[in-house]
């Protein structure tokens, strides 16, 4: 009994321990986050972590007196917290200790998180974008809170704190009215990025200021950082993703939900609309005059929508398309009943370019010319023209290189070649459909991107060249025997080889033989093609060729037989002649006897 009792005691202890490592899920174990918080506050045996799945949650969460609770969203970019009652905070924490809130996007509401008389609070890897009337985080002087790796975008006040016990590290503050207040407290603010805030108030130490953080697309809620963002690798600590110096913002540091995929933080999960992607975007015209313009069309999106947004940018493919050089900045709003637009006033810089000097046009292999030219200062690329009658028959933009191998030409034909230098900008275009009748506004995915090169071109530098077949050294014939090959089935047939040798040795050594070979090469291929198409003739041709092959064999392999054959033939013909003559004499004698 003692052992059994010990076993159950141990099992109970183990279950207690294990239960402390367990987590509850929303939705799943509980329908709402508040229900999960309440359950954990009431029964610590349930565990200490609330895992919140992707989705939008409209609640006013209240956490009071709890010890050690972690509330974690599945993915910052797709786990949204909205205020159920906008007059109240989305999350109120009071008299609590050891509470972590991370990986959420706080959206609608007048207040995001309100902290009162709490300690050990961590608010990490969240996005706060509450709008001009929303205050993201407020804490009183009695609260000990660590605000780390959050992105505050487009809030009234990002962080309003009551004392130095609020530590603010590795955050990005962009486009807020007030970033960190009050300005009487300057300690414990470090390694943050500040940009485009109406009043940053306190930037602290190790700050990056007045440089745009280069979000992937803040307009669509994607707050990942682009490659050249000044907010990368400037934080305190280490990124868990790439083990380098921590990035600032919600996707850097050690609490991020970012797994390395550049997922767009779009509001689709809010289920506010399902606008489909705009199709058939095309550039129908482009003017390359003093100022450039590009005319774009697309297919109408039949859904109920407020209009289209036409995005453009130069020399930067993909979102966020932040073109500014046209008369209207990207994105350009277009009415819902219009499916075309001309972007005018594009002002790619114009630089006078010298014509490149062609230094070499030489054949490099069959049907190919190698062309090289001198580089031109400021050129972004080169255009190669070529043609038989006019160099403008064909053109290729070859990129920023100074040599090109032009293949697919006709040997022996002289081509006109010309090269120009280009100074061009590449414009990238995309269109979306949007609906601003819902809150938050909905916008479709970007259409397939279209690109267009526009800019200046220098004068042409001209030359000519003739592609040729390579003639190997020494100049040897390709020995073919068309008819015999067709008749015997393959080029290397011994009989064909024999005839080939006969041609080379005995026919090409004198002019009548060369004349015969010339005639053969003129008409032989036609005969060979006929035999190929009519295989029933093969046997007959073989029989015809047989004496020739035999003769060739004798000449090459048993020359001593030749005189024997000649002598034998002579003897045979002589014998026949004598026999015939004898018979004729006999007939004449017989006739004389009859008539005498």
């Amino acid at each position: 009994m003692t052992y059994v009792g010990s076993f159950f005691a141990s099992a109970t202890l183990m279950m207690t321990f294990v239960s402390h490592c367990w987590a509850v899920s929303v939705p799943g174990d509980y329908d709402t986050i508040q229900a999960a918080i309440t359950a954990l506050e009431d029964d610590s045996m349930l565990g200490d972590t609330i895992n919140v799945a992707r989705g939008a949650y409209s609640e006013n969460l209240v956490l009071s007196g709890a010890v050690t609770i972690v509330i974690v969203g599945e993915e910052t970019a797709a786990t949204f917290l909205d205020a159920g009652d906008e007059s109240k905070a989305i999350l109120s924490i009071s008299n609590a200790s050891n509470v972590t809130v991370r990986n959420f996007t706080f959206r609608t509401g007048s207040r995001g998180i309100v902290l009162t008389n709490s300690s050990g609070i961590i608010i990490a890897s969240n996005i706060f974008r509450l709008g001009n009337n929303g205050n993201a985080i407020s804490s009183d002087a009695l609260t000990d809170v660590n605000i780390i790796n959050n992105t505050f975008y487009d809030n009234n006040r990002a962080v309003d704190r009551g004392g130095e016990t609020t530590e603010i590290t590795n955050n990005i503050f962009d486009s807020n009215n007030v970033a960190v207040s009050p300005d009487t407290l300057t300690e414990t603010v470090s390694y943050n990025c500040f940009s485009d805030n109406s009043d940053a108030r306190v930037t602290g130490t190790q700050a990056v200021t007045n440089n745009a953080p280069l979000f992937v697309n803040s307009h669509l809620g994607d707050f990942h950082l682009k490659e050249k963002s000044p907010c990368i690798d400037v934080g305190n600590g280490m990124d868990i993703i790439d083990r380098t110096i921590a990035d600032t913002g919600a996707y850097g540091g050690s609490y991020t939900s970012f797994k390395g995929q550049n997922v767009a933080a779009r509001d689709d999960s809010a289920n506010v609309g399902t606008l489909s992607k705009v199709q058939n975007v095309a550039v129908i015209d482009a003017s390359n005059e003093d100022t450039f313009s590009i005319s774009v069309t697309w297919s109408a999106n039949n859904a109920s929508l407020s209009g289209y947004k036409l995005y453009y940018d130069s020399d930067q493919s993909g979102p966020p398309y932040e073109g500014k050089d046209a008369s209207v900045e990207s994105p350009i709003d277009v009415d819902s009943d219009v499916t075309s637009y001309t972007i005018s006033g594009l002002t790619s810089p114009s630089i006078p370019l010298a014509a490149p000097i062609i230094s070499n046009v030489t054949p490099s292999k069959s049907q190919t010319l190698d062309i090289s030219w001198g580089s031109v200062a400021s050129a972004t690329g080169y255009r190669l023209y070529y043609g038989v009658d006019d160099h403008k028959e064909n053109q290729i933009d070859v990129g920023a290189v100074t040599n090109y191998s032009l293949s697919g030409l006709t040997n022996g034909v002289t081509y006109d070649i010309a090269v120009s230098a280009l100074y061009q900008a590449t414009y990238y275009l995309s269109v979306t459909a949007y609906d601003d009748t819902v809150t938050p506004n909905h916008e479709s995915d970007y259409s397939d991107e279209k690109s267009l090169d526009m800019g200046d071109e220098s004068a042409l530098s001209k030359d000519e060249g003739t592609p040729e077949a390579i003639v190997p050294f020494p100049l040897l014939p390709d020995e073919g025997c068309f008819i015999a090959t067709a008749a015997f089935g393959y080029y290397d047939a011994p009989q064909v080889q024999l005839l080939r040798n006969f041609r080379d040795r005995y026919l090409l050594s004198h002019s009548p033989g060369r004349w015969f070979v010339k005639q053969y090469y003129t008409y032989g291929p036609k005969a060979a093609r006929y035999i190929e198409r009519h295989p029933e003739w093969k046997s007959a041709v073989r029989v015809v060729l047989l004496p020739l092959i035999a003769m060739a064999w004798v000449l090459f392999n048993a020359l001593w037989l030749a005189p024997v054959v000649v002598v034998s033939g002579g003897i045979m013909f002589g014998a026949l002649y004598l026999r015939r003559k004898k018979r004729k004499s006999a007939v004449i004698s017989h006739a004389r006897e009859i008539f005498s």
Partner: protein, 221 residues
Amino acid sequence: MSGFSGTYVSCKVMLVALLSSICLLLPVASLAKDESMAPHWSFEFKVGQFESALDKWDTYYDGNPSLLKVGWSYKIFRPLDIGLSLGRITTSGVGNFPIQKSVGGDVRFTLVPVNISLFYRFVFHENQLLVPYIGGGWTRIYYRQETEGGDKFEGSHDGHHVKLGIQILLDSFDKRSARNLQQKVGIENTYLFLEAQSIEAKESGIDLGGDSIFLGLLLEY
């Protein structure tokens, strides 16, 4: 390059070497074998360097290519062999662009010489340490030229060849191995040999032949 003048020089040098080593041709009586055991066949493998008889070879091809050959021969009687050998020479280079009158493009040139030879070996005893030999015969060189553009030129030239060389009997240096080879494999004699060869295969004024120096191994069985 003059193929035949070079060959004659090589021949003179070889002849002097042969004459001066006549004294080494004397058999070693104590090692004498039974004449009835004289082998009838031989197989040889040799590697060497080929120097083309074509004047402008160096303009188009990179140096003198190596040449591999194998051959078999039958001993009509002890000193006189008739043999067949097959070789292969492959090299890469450039071709011509006749209109531009320039050199360029990649060309691969392969020669396959086939020799039928009759050669006399100055062998007077089965254990003779040094065996000079001289011979010659009919040659056909098959050629193939392939250009970078995909053109291919194939054919053959007929001609003749002469060769001379000297064989060193290896059996004297390792009698145990020689005996093992003889008993277990049937190889009677093993020679290391040095050979000079000259081929002329000229048709239409183009000689595909040239001079070669070989080092090889010959097995008699």
